[in-house]
Amino acid sequence: MMNIKNVAYFFREAFTSLTRNRLLSIATVSTMVICVLLLGIAVLMTINAGSFINRLESDIEIIVFLDNSMTSTQIVDMKTTIEKQDGVKSVVFVSREQALQNLQKKFADKNYDLGKTVGKNPLPDSYEVKAKNPQNVGALAEQIKKMPGVYKVNYGQGLVERLFQVTKWVRIISIGFIVVLALGAVFLIATTIRLAIFARRKEIYLMKLIGATDWFVRWPFFIEGILLGSVGALISILLLSVGYGSLLNNMQTALFFIPLVNKPNLLFNVYLSLLGTGVLLGALGTYISLNRFLDV
């Protein structure tokens, strides 16, 4: 495929072409910057939406209110029974005293004694059950409800189902968005590169008639496409990291209730894959545009 003695020639040709067609090079890099930037924004948004959704979903729990007539042994036995159910992640006991305290905390005013007002504690003992897969809480709650000694089961019926509808669509739409964006980027870049190749179609035709192999013609264009792709990707990664960094700084103080993903490892991987995407887009765009002209 690539003859070693030609490597220097291929790189020289690629660089000559880059500087000779400066305007087209700039156009290609700009297109690349915009495409990768949009892709990067979409990916970061998807990641953040995903982490937000995960957090929401992991907050979902089933509260199992117990019958007041249960003895303490029965209550302990019940815990093991629930834990044996399929798909249960954790079971935490909340005594009626604890429940009252929690309620007191919610009514933030510390001078107000809830216990005194209601007199006898009206709250039952309860278990807080978390499912391994939050999507299963409905079915799990139904099972627990049938157990003897269960007074009531509460998991935000109706609301949870609706939340999952929303999160399902957020996931589908964001992945669809990224796919469409990536396809658009390939098309856009292929078109820009086609312009650069079109300007040199006579040279390509000539090379083919003299007896150049397809790969001999291809390599300089490939190197050019990959270089343009990586330069474009690097610029957009720079813009993206600066932009996201300042967003992190400002959001954390101003909009603390929207937690942004800030894992250096994850972000590094995102940026690295964007660079890879740039290289791939450059190579793919060149391949698509070039083949038509090689058919001599």
Binding site: K202, L206, I210, G211, T213
Partner: protein
């Protein structure tokens, strides 16, 4: 036998019938004029010689190899045995005379150290000595075509194909180009030249194949007519 056409027909995708049942043979060392008005099928026939087009029906052998059954990956090797000269020269404007010729040798994988001496040699053969470092745009049409010819013979082809090489040149320059092609032919290279300039062909004493409407109208030595 260098070239053999057996009942070759070509119908383009748009329905145009370019060649209709052509059979012909070309020996090594021959010089052949291919004549006919535009649309007669000259260009199609020429393009088949270097396999830019393949026949719709029939068979073509070049140096005993079928170009119809040839794989795409084998085409470069076929073309390395040929030199092509174009009516519009097809020179690279941003490369000098010497670079244009060296480029053609580089493309086909010549050893780097063999390129400069051969370049000097062919530049001398076509009479462009002293113009090695000029750019095509600085030279006359005749000189540009000499670069085209030098490039075509640089790789020592078996077959030199010239498609209206003098079409863009005045008569005196055209005759000079003809002399150059005869000279190359005398040194052993087979030459096929498409033209419609009767003045050039008249007294040439060469084989003339005349095409009309995709068929061979006549195939004779110019002295017989």
């Amino acid at each position: 036998m260098l070239v053999q056409f057996y009942n070759v027909s070509k119908v383009y995708k748009n329905g145009v019938k370019a060649l209709n049942d052509i059979s012909l043979k070309i020996d090594r060392g021959e010089f052949i004029f291919l004549m006919g008005s535009s649309g007669a099928g000259k260009s199609t026939l020429i393009k088949m010689l270097f396999r830019e087009e393949v026949p719709t029906r029939g068979q073509i052998f070049i140096a005993s190899r079928s170009i119809v059954r040839m794989k795409r990956s084998e085409v470069p090797q076929l073309r390395r045995n040929m030199g092509v000269v174009f009516q519009d020269f097809k020179l690279l404007e941003n490369k000098t005379v010497a670079e244009n010729i060296a480029f053609a040798m580089k493309v086909v994988g010549c050893k780097t150290r063999d390129i400069p001496p051969r370049t000097t040699e062919v530049i001398q053969m076509v009479g462009l000595k002293g113009k090695e470092n000029s750019f095509p745009g600085q030279l006359s049409g005749g000189e540009q075509q000499r670069i085209g010819i030098a490039r075509a013979i640089a790789n020592r082809p078996l077959l030199l194909i010239a498609d209206e090489p003098s079409g863009n040149l005045d008569m005196d320059t055209a005759r000079e180009i003809m002399e150059l092609l005869y000279d190359i032919n005398r040194k052993g290279t087979t030459v096929v030249m498409a033209t419609h300039a009767r003045e050039l062909v008249k007294n040439a004493r060469k084989r003339i194949i005349t095409l009309e409407a995709g068929q061979i109208l006549s195939d004779q030595n110019s002295l017989e007519s």
